[in-house]
Symmetry: C2
């Protein structure tokens, strides 16, 4: 039994997870980032103790470890949290592992949420049984988790993969990271919305239903994809641009890593086969190694549970490595 | 004792290599691609037999296996050669392993020359002892070899890494592969020369010594770097452009793979510290994970021997895996 915690900008979700990746019990609190770091850390510790009690009540084994997924960089020892822009202030070089271990008395390990979503997909989702597989989470930004040689790949210093910041071209706006042309500025929900907003602002496709959606403050990834599905010209153009650049980024990853499976998750992937069909065609047209077998595409399967499951799998894996 | 063969567009180089990566004896023949595939394969077999005889004459152990490096795609079984544009005609889906085994009676394995240069650096060069390291060969194109988790990484189907075809921007000419914006069109010797040629053609920097070099047919990577070193304006501009895009590609690789060492080889790397200093500065300015430890840079050390050494290490590694 392991506790998995998914610390997001909006909610903290935590759960008891068994060894096969089933969530047996889940709880949730609002992150309320304005409260500051200490209150958030205290809440996570509190939720751990609540889940320890819950395990006891249900006659389940006492949780042996805690995994925590965070939306930011984590050092190679899975101890230090860094650059957590979405969590408010006070998150620079925070020894989150030690802070939580001191309070809970449980062993705690931290990792980036993209990595943990990859681990969740490798345990129970679209990357199960896959030796080399990539998860791309297409949301506000683009996160990723790489499974290489059958294991989660974290790089030398724990910083891989920051796939959203791979530069693939020139864009009309700069990335939050300060560079121009990052993958996530083209192919995330944010990239899609920013482009549609620009086209609306410039009066393009005046018959498009998205002008009205923009007036009502409803220009989002869902409305843009729905517009594209009914051949609305601005919707079609915006989605076409997203899938073109998504394919550029994916072909780069195929050229570099040659994975067996690429799984797509996050809000943009809710568009399902409508997205996949375009991406598959554009990737296929641009492969370098034509005539060879190549990666197959899947939709991610763990959805909102990815964070809890992946975090618990990390805790379990590290605990086992320690006792081995 | 293993035989390593480096099949290039100009020469076939072969050598007897001991278990620590020392070349004990090397021989060379012109490739003469116009002769066609069969003559080239026959030459490689002939060179194997010559090296077997040479080992006997010198009282060395009989070579146990042959590795062959080729400038093209190789399948996952290290048997089939594909898309060898630089070797003339007749190189589509060639079962080179079987063809050479039938004639020589020796076990033969094939791999891409970028991978094998990476393996050579990992055995005796700049990536020795490194768990995650990348070799980039900056020559006519950009080749690469990735060492991940202490081993040569070939991907799922043997096609990784085609690092030269990572799209990083928009360029003024298309890549041979049919796409626009490939890393190698910016940061290879070819990319450097094409840009300088364009600037000469357009009459830019009329005082530059490179106009005269172009008239004399001497506009090459060496003359452009030498011009930059003495502050020739066109030389400076062309090298600045190369190092800017080289840094973009390298930062992408750091974001994705977070390697411990990046080794630079090939003709462009002959510029040595003059190149490295610019690249290090531009990479450092564009890192996503500032304040964390990051990859260090090295010049590749195996030079022209990389092909023979890497090929021999492949043969040795596969032979050991077979008998294990």
């Amino acid at each position: 039994m392991t506790i998995g915690i998914d610390l997001g900008g909006t909610n903290i979700a935590a759960g008891l997870v068994d060894e096969t990746g089933n969530i047996l019990c889940a709880i949730k609190r609002a992150t309320d980032t304005h409260r500051g770091r200490d209150a958030i850390v205290a809440d996570m510790c509190d939720m751990c103790m609540e889940l320890v009690d819950e395990a006891q009540k249900r006659g389940l084994p006492r949780p042996g470890a805690v995994g925590v997924g965070v939306p930011c960089l984590v050092d190679k020892d899975m101890a230090l949290v860094h650059k957590a822009a979405n969590l408010g202030t006070g998150w620079d070089k925070v020894p989150l592992k030690r802070l939580m271990e001191d309070v809970t008395g449980l062993k705690v390990w931290i990792d980036n949420d993209g990595n943990l979503a990859g681990l969740a997909e490798h345990t129970v989702g679209a990357l199960k049984g896959v030796d080399n597989g990539l998860l791309l989470t297409l949301g506000t930004g683009i996160g990723g988790g790489f499974i290489l040689n059958g294991k989660l790949f974290r790089g030398t210093y724990g910083l891989a993969p920051e796939v959203g910041h791979m530069v693939i071209g020139k864009n009309f706006y700069d990335c939050n990271c300060g560079k121009n042309g990052c993958f996530e500025t083209f192919a995330s929900a944010t990239g899609l919305i920013r482009y549609a907003e620009k086209q609306v602002r410039e009066g393009m496709h005046p018959t498009s239903s998205l002008h009205r959606a923009a007036d009502m403050g409803q220009l989002n990834a869902h409305t843009i994809f729905e517009a594209a599905k009914v051949a609305d010209p601005l919707g079609v153009e915006a989605v076409d641009r997203l899938t073109t650049y998504l394919a550029v980024g994916i072909v780069n990853l195929i050229n570099l890593i040659d994975p067996e499976v690429i799984a797509l998750g996050g809000g943009v992937a809710h568009a399902g086969d409508f997205l996949l069909d375009q991406v598959k065609r554009k990737v296929s047209d641009n492969l370098f190694a034509k005539g060879f077998p190549t990666a197959r595409f899947e939709l991610a399967r763990t959805g909102n549970d990815a964070g809890i499951i992946g975090a618990a799998m990390l805790g379990r894996m590290m605990k086992e490595a320690m006792t081995a």
